[in-house]
Symmetry: C2
Subunit: 348 residues, 2 copies
């Protein structure tokens, strides 16, 4: 089937570009001797996680338990949930998952560690724990290396300390590197081995080799790439594997065309850029505004006509794929497969 | 069941506030003698559409065919799709829907009208068409009253001209009023009756009675209300029926707490405001940033602790309910029902 037969708006995944993106990152990791543990929040599709594993990735990363459950049900057996798992309901699910697969979770507080110790003790579950460190990202994470050592020492029994993780600030690779070096020194001093040192983020992934202590990297967006990654310099526009196929539904004036994709497709993620996407076939078109089901294209001339179809490279691929139940795997304008986005909406 | 038993993040709909919002709008419309045709893009739940109909609404509005199909399957039998329906695939679905219910669609171009004429002729389907007018909103719509008259005259057979519709710019009720008055004069001059004059948008809904020619209003957000409506002055914070229940998962510093809801729950919709939501139980907390699965709360002091649950009034209710397969109907902290968001993701 040709993509012209698809109803719009829909998400197309260029199989060739995606595979090239996977291989490029794996080659880079192999060259510099660190492990790749791709974050599946970007695609949420077990078949694509398997492509990453087959290329050489060691396990996958998920952000939420619900994502990990979907992946484990599909047979993925080595999963890091890079998140504090809080509450009885979720700790019970954690225990069930830990009986099924090799599970690693994150902790940045005594509250979280106490929960992990309790569930390990009461259920007999065993799992690894990475202490999350705030190396400049300003989100989760212990604030000092000493806090990391103290927290690691509080883990008991089946909740086993396995190392450190961070989600660094973009453009601050050096600060992260210094922070982690100090942390490893503090653990050395305490006589504790740090097996894993894990960082993530596609924008700075090609600098990962400059951080000597890293053992693992968790890129997510790299499988699809997107307009924000092109802006960050981590990809070229022709690397972008995910596009949104849309139809022009109105052209009220020569300088304004309206497409059938709005925030319920492209989302409002702007990520510091101007506009809501890039149209390779009509680069002068500025995707100037979105409402829920309309997108506004502006250009002095050359805008597509009503009924024309345009492919848009979105600002942020990870949130766009999460808006769809199904994405279409394509190659050279032909549809190869329709794949359910199995972990879409699994925010719990 | 108490809401404390729900896993977070999840969406709560306060049944009492929702019903009051529905009734308040219906009373207003009844007082001034115009019809209410609520836009279901906000809730996407047939049971809530029925509440709106039972209160006195005449039919409902949908933005996409997929939403209308879900509502028609649930028995809603008078639907306006306020959108240009383009393409053979969608016109076939339009014809099927028109055989089942009283259907009205929008058109703002000869391209769209030609499609409607063709599908009416070839399938025998009959449906109403409103000419969409750009009265200042700068999205879809014919640019002049004369264009509206010309387009209406091009409709044939089962594709019946029924009136005008507009989605006006917020805060520009007077411009809309002037535009529509001129359009009605142009139709009068052409000897054509304009049965329906339909406008929409919750921010300006309480000014609808000042537009003498309006026969119908299509508010969407009014059923839930949200932080942007409070900012626009169309609701008070205590009217907001939709909240997101979240858990604090990390508190790296006294002035920063992290919740388990990010852009995949609250979305990046900012709508001209500062921050991503309001927390009634902790109004000093600034929801300062979101990543995909984390929300950052900031305040000098008084932030909730790890494990605490907080309810957030989002910036934009319509996009948040679209992120969930299920929402919880609640009253006084008790869960009354778990309702599937049946038309979630129906963007095609």
């Amino acid at each position: 089937m040709n993509i012209d037969a698809l109803s719009t708006p829909c998400v197309l995944i260029d199989a060739d570009k995606m595979k090239a993106n996977i291989q490029r990152a794996q080659d880079y990791a192999d060259t510099y001797g660190f492990t790749l543990r791709p974050h599946i929040k970007t695609h949420k599709i077990p078949a694509f996680a398997y492509l990453q594993i087959e290329a050489g990735a060691r396990g996958i990363t998920c952000q939420k338990l619900g994502e990990a459950e979907v992946m484990a049900d599909a047979g993925l057996d080595d999963i890091l949930i890079s998140y504090n798992i809080i509450g009885f309901d979720k700790l019970s699910r954690l225990a069930a998952l830990a009986r099924k697969i090799k599970l690693t979770v994150a902790a940045d507080s005594r509250f979280t560690v106490d929960g992990y110790n309790a569930v390990a003790e009461t259920t007999g579950a065993t799992f690894d724990v990475l202490i999350e460190c705030d190396t400049g990202g300003g989100r989760c994470g212990v604030q000092t290396p000493d806090e990391a050592v103290t927290l690691a020492a509080a883990l008991r029994g089946g909740a086993r300390f396995a190392g450190l993780m961070t989600y660094p600030a973009t453009g601050k690779t050096e600060e992260m590197s210094e922070w982690l070096r100090a942390a490893i020194a503090a653990f050395d001093k305490a006589g504790v081995t740090v097996e894993t040192v894990s960082a993530g983020g596609t924008p700075d992934m090609w600098k990962a080799h400059t951080v000597a202590c890293l053992t693992e990297y968790r890129p997510g967006t790299y499988i699809y790439m997107d307009r924000s990654q092109v802006a960050a310099g981590s990809a070229m526009m022709q690397d972008c594997a995910l596009t949104v196929l849309t139809t022009v539904v109105s052209k009220p004036r020569p300088d304004r065309a309206i497409i059938d994709a709005g925030t319920k497709v492209l989302t409002s993620d702007i990520l510091g850029m101007d506009g809501f996407g890039h149209i390779p076939s009509c680069p002068q078109a500025h995707v100037s505004g979105l409402s829920e089901e309309h997108g506004i294209l502006r250009a002095e001339s050359g805008l597509p006509e009503i009924g024309d179809r345009v492919q848009i490279v979105p600002n942020h691929a990870c949130v766009v794929s999460n808006m769809f139940d199904t994405v279409y795997l394509v190659s050279g304008g032909h549809v190869l497969d329709a794949l359910p986005v199995a972990a879409r909406g699994k925010v719990v």
